[in-house]
Amino acid sequence: MSDFRIALRPALGSATGPASRGVSLTAMPEGHVVQVLGRRPHAPDLSGVLEKAAGPAHRAVHAAGPGQWFIVGDAPLSRDEFAALSAALQPHATAVDQSHGRIRIRVEGTMVERMLAKGTAVDLDPGAFPVGTSAMTLLGHVSVHLTRIEIAVFEIMVLRGFAESLWEDLVRMSAEFA
């Protein structure tokens, strides 16, 4: 038996970032992230199935490439809730709980596109990347999942181990707008 108890600590617990009108960074609650993998990448449109499975429980469905999605929410997902979600996706898709492995960061402000453009080549003009659009991309050297959740608000999802490093990069990228 282990001599010590494993302590669960938030990945970005002590991180502080800019909070100005230009750019502000916030670590989002470590609720849940469920990766959804379609049975076939070129399967018919599953948006109806996904929306039904996600339900009204303040969850969002973000596209992540052909036949793949992330269902995210701010509240932790219980074992039963995950089982229900997983069952609702069958037989079209498979759910994998990634809540422990991915961290979400909220970036917002009037200069947010200009800040993010320092790290990614994705066209972030609201015309080309409207609210609700997602993209997997590189932000600097870190692979991230980027979603525009409101007109001047982006959600960045990153592997947990990269969260702190990405946070430091974002702080540095935001410095001139703070």
């Binding site: 990448p41 070129h42 490439g65 993209a135 997997m136």
Partner: protein
């Protein structure tokens, strides 16, 4: 090298997001013999002009693509999802 790849799923992305496997070659039959397998595994042309390669969009949609590009002018002529092209019967 072509610096912008027009991924059929993600749109135009920089080459840093991709990993390149190499030339598109057809795999010999298991009993094709030593010579055919040696050529398939080790020998590569270094063409000037149109070149077809497998690219993996590692930091994007994570799909295998078949990129047809010009090694002299760096222009990308065609970019297809490898599995979709195979399903549609397009010889990539």
């Amino acid at each position: 090298m072509a610096s912008l790849i027009s991924c059929p799923h993600c749109g135009v992305r920089p080459k840093e997001e991709f990993a390149i496997k190499g030339a598109v070659l057809s795999r010999p039959a298991p009993d094709a013999g030593h010579q055919a397998w040696t050529e398939y595994v080790y020998l590569r042309d270094n063409p000037r002009g149109i070149h077809r390669e497998y690219w993996h969009h590692t930091s994007g949609c994570r799909r295998w693509l078949v990129v047809t590009r010009d090694t002299a002018s760096h222009e990308v002529e065609l970019c297809l999802d490898a599995a979709a092209a195979k399903l549609a019967g397009v010889r990539p």
